[in-house]
């Protein structure tokens, strides 16, 4: 199958596209990129790479570009992996399907249900706890939130970045740091003491098809996993399963939680594969491949077991590419 994949960044802020592409090596892969500097373009994983218009330009721009790519490279499916582009793909999934390109995404309603601002209500539905969270759109809101929640406090962006602040000065510093880069709203959140655990899974709209749980052992400054260990946390598995079954989630997801050994606190649910998805593949649970099979209408066996105490280790590698490839991609928007 000819599959297009987005999210080709592979720096210390890696996008999930490379993990997805490595899991789908047997297919003909097309890379969709927003920046010719993304290292994943030059890793030899894609037979062709196209630059895409930013999602903020709207569906018409996207449609024009994707129709061109469809005609030229005969793509049959797309796996979008970036938070910023997912709303567009989800909203227009039926239109994209009409163009002859398959996706495997949740409905817009499901997608909105797990929005960070709706998690307090949503966590009740799942029967898990959720740290007290206050939406912030001004400095006054932040000050009020610190009075309600006390210190330390998490200051978070709605899509990206999260910092722990121990006093008001730090909270204000992070408030500006995040809002200057990512805009509003921001979230102030109670700090939960415990261990952060994550689950990557795939739902078919009714049931959890497969998944893997991990505990991050080390992260980059941006909080991206650098090493991790596979875990078997029954509560995390059960709540991930319930999440899919309760709302009928279709597609990939990453369930982020904190555990104090007794309770599970839902932190957030990402509506896509995480950048560490290839770890699941290495453990024998190839979620992107399962997704492709579901797209093709094939039956996929449920798979919940995987080896425990296996370590995921990310590392830096170097490669060489022709500078001409870089300039070609910039000037012709395809390579």
């Amino acid at each position: 199958m000819k599959i297009a994949i987005s999210g080709l960044n592979n720096t210390d802020n890696p996008a999930p596209g490379i993990g997805v592409a490595k899991s789908l090596k047997g297919h003909n892969l097309i890379g969709l990129s927003y920046d010719a500097n993304e290292p994943g373009i030059y890793q030899g994983l894609f037979e062709k790479v196209y630059l895409m218009p930013y999602p903020s330009l709207g569906y018409e721009e996207f449609k024009q570009r994707i129709t061109y790519i469809k005609e030229k490279s005969k793509i049959e499916a797309i796996i979008p992996t970036l938070d910023a582009e997912l709303p567009l793909y989800i909203k227009y999934q039926n239109e994209i399907d009409k163009l002859g390109i398959k996706t495997y995404l949740p409905s817009l309603e499901c997608f909105e249900m797990r929005d960070k601002s709706k998690l307090p209500e949503f966590s009740k539905k799942l029967g898990v706890k959720h740290p007290k969270t206050i939406q912030i759109t001004s400095l006054d809101d932040l000050i009020l939130a610190t009075r309600t929640l006390g210190f330390p406090i998490m200051v978070k962006g709605n899509y990206y970045k999260a910092y722990k602040a121990y006093n008001l000065d730090e909270a204000i510093e992070y408030y500006y740091k995040i809002s200057n880069e990512w805009g509003f709203p921001l979230l102030a959140q109670q700090v939960i003491s415990g261990v952060e655990i994550n689950y990557v899974g795939l739902g078919d709209g009714k049931e959890l098809i497969a998944g893997v749980g991990i505990k991050k052992l080390s992260t980059t400054e941006l909080g991206k996993v650098w090493s991790a260990v596979s875990i078997d946390n029954k509560a995390l598995f059960e709540v991930s399963k319930k999440f899919v079954e309760t709302i009928g989630w279709r597609g990939a997801f990453e369930f982020e939680a904190m555990s104090d050994g007794k309770d599970i606190y839902l932190i957030e649910i990402n509506p896509r594969f995480p950048a560490w998805v290839h770890f699941a593949t290495m453990l024998g649970i190839n979620l992107p491949e399962m997704m492709i099979k579901l797209i093709q209408g094939e039956k996929v066996e449920k798979k919940y077991d995987y080896p425990l105490e296996k370590m995921y280790i990310r590392y830096v590698e170097e490669t060489m590419a022709d500078f001409k490839d870089f300039t070609t991609l910039i000037s012709k928007k395809e390579l």
């Binding site: 415990g194 991990i214 509560a235 555990s259 104090d260 050994g261």
Partner: protein
Amino acid sequence: MLLDEMVIDENNVGFIPSLGISFEVNETAKRIIELIKEGKSKEDIVKIISDEFDVSWGEAYADVEDFFIKLKVYGLIQ
């Protein structure tokens, strides 16, 4: 309690499979954990440690007490 799931390997590293956290333990700690898992009381553990490691009751009591506090701090026992 989380301590029940702890698996200690040949390198004396105790691993909690549900949370992916690990702890390095010495021989005394390893023995105390075994005894806790066997359901022994703190008093029994002090006596056994004192006998097996050839230390006074007072020294064993202080060490076991200190270790229990650490287990609580790490959330491994209630």
